[in-house]
Amino acid sequence: MKVVVCVKQVPDTEAEIKWDVEKGVLKRDSMDPITNPFDEFAVEEALLTREKYDCEIYAISMGPERAQEVLRNALALGVNGVYHILDPQLSGSDTFGTAYALAKAIMKIGDVDIVFMGRQSTDGNTGVVPGEVAAILGYTPLTYVSKIREIDFQGKRIVVERAIEGGFEVVEAKLPAVVSVIKGINEPRLPNLMGIRRAAKMEIPKWTCDDLGLDKDKVGLSASSTRVVEISVPPPKAQGEILKGDLDEVAEQLASRLLDLKIIK
């Protein structure tokens, strides 16, 4: 009984965003890297699953050298093992290339029942990687999961609640599955000092493209079918207006202005 949790390192947008206005690019190097907030819920759900069903947890991350910090954090939380997918050839992979590399790592771990992921990253924000990983592996795609009701590892069955527009649906599905989770599914715990100390000393195994047997035509910048051609600062909104006057006057102005827009009926 094995579960995998995918974690991504993202720039910490809680901290001040630093960007190079001249060049119009984000100074990623100057920002503190953190675990993608949605992935924290995925790690916690994996830990809760192990507490209930006694499975093993492997955390994987694809990213540059310092992405190992998010794996170290997962180790501090007590996952059984981690693998860092690290290869310069992977740099610039689009969502398909990323999903393909993750899928191959999951296959290499082998006999995986559930892959936990966050619903999306807070930097790329595409939300398509979980669905792509599931499609590549032929696993059941269970996205936007807000609650796991039941897992039957022996019977290869899972029941989840998925938060979709207008409500939630209850889905009964076969394992193996990719389960992408939303905020609020749990309360992620923090690593304790002992965990942090233990993790600090641990070796983080690295997997390259060759280790994973990746088809190099499918990964990296040159393989990506999507390509960024321009980064621009969006045109500023027309200078807004701070309404002036006493309480009654500003409320009167705002109400009239908004009614003029003919949106409120």
Partner: protein, 327 residues
């Protein structure tokens, strides 16, 4: 070829006008490419949806029906869509960046090994090259993406990013009924229940949103906002600070770790405007900010701002709107 397909989403056969919203931009793109705009409809029985798609401008409808498609299930919908894509070879497929649109497009991308441009806020041709614009890094940057090599080009589009197409009676369109070799045994999942949310208005679809943040100071503040929202027909949103304080459930959260919304009118009450919040709402058409702090960043993106205590401003606004709306 140059055909542009638009995936029409529905839940067990029920649609909203927004299900058809991408037929407008789809038609424009198809004309520019010398192709047709086609609706892709998958469901248990889709006659009504196909008919409506034509009224909204679809020149062709690929209709896939069968009991296996009663509920949206990503795996069987993906399998079926891939068979049709292989048969007809569309150039572009547009999806809404909702849960359903994201699920289906990512399934297709994984199966067909093609890239996706996700959550586009603009799509256009420039010198015959299709360009897509996404909001990145909390909307502070617009990133323009091309997807030259992939066929089909999969694009998910932020809801309400484009004008609704006009619905007209008597438009002509061809319905192509297709059957594909997909059965229940192809699915690894079963939808056993749907529980409608207690939140009556869907934030993503709402035209007006009244949102509250840390400045409310207490959970009861949302009672006041709810009264205001009900009066003007708005959905109720919240900042992360308010959700994390336990004042209101997560499904109301707007922002980077919540929902991305694009209403016609967004009224931010007691929200300072942290980048995480702006990421979820800055593309709203009209933004109103009500905040005590004149230096709050929310004022920088607001169309109208009121510097003041929301506990005085909102009741006054309620009074004004009641009088003006005759309620």
């Amino acid at each position: 070829m140059g055909d542009v397909w638009v995936y029409i989403e529905h839940r067990e056969g029920s649609t909203s006008p927004l299900s058809f919203e991408l037929l407008g931009i789809g038609k424009k793109l198809a004309q520019e490419r010398g192709g047709k705009v086609c609706a892709l409809v998958i469901g248990e029985s889709v006659d009504q949806i196909a008919k409506e798609a034509i009224e909204y401008g679809a020149e062709k409808v690929y209709a896939l029906t069968g009991g296996v498609f009663k509920n949206f299930r990503s795996d069987v919908y993906t399998k079926a869509a891939c068979q049709l894509i292989e048969k007809y070879g569309p150039d572009i497929i547009l999806f809404r960046s909702t849960t359903q649109g994201t699920d289906l497009s990512s399934g297709i991308a994984g199966k067909l090994n093609v890239g996706i441009c996700a959550d586009a806020i603009s799509v256009y041709h420039e010198n015959n090259v299709l360009k897509m614009v996404r909001a990145a890094f909390g909307g502070r940057f617009n990133v323009t993406v091309v997807n030259e090599r992939a066929t089909p080009k999969l694009i998910t589009v932020r809801p309400k990013a484009f004008e609704m197409p006009e619905k007209k009676d008597g438009q002509k369109g061809e319905i192509i009924s297709e059957s594909v070799g997909v059965s229940d045994s192809d699915s690894m999942m079963k939808v056993v229940d749907f529980v409608k949310s207690a939140v009556t208005v869907n934030l993503v679809e709402a035209d007006i949103i009244v949102s509250g943040g840390r400045g409310l100071g207490k959970p009861e503040g949302f009672n006041l906002l709810r009264e205001f929202a009900d009066l003007i027909g708005a959905a109720l949103g919240a900042s992360r600070a308010a959700v994390d304080s336990g004042w209101i459930p997560y499904e109301h959260q707007v922002g980077q770790t919540g929902k991305t919304v694009k209403p016609k009118l967004y009224i931010a009450c007691g929200i300072s405007g942290a980048i995480q919040h702006l990421a979820g709402m800055r593309t709203s058409d009209c933004i109103v900010a009500i905040n005590k702090d004149p230096d709050a960043p929310i004022f920088k993106i607001a169309t109208f701002g009121i510097v003041g205590d929301l506990y005085q401003v909102i009741p006054k606004l309620i009074e004004k709107f009641k009088a003006k709306l005759g309620k």
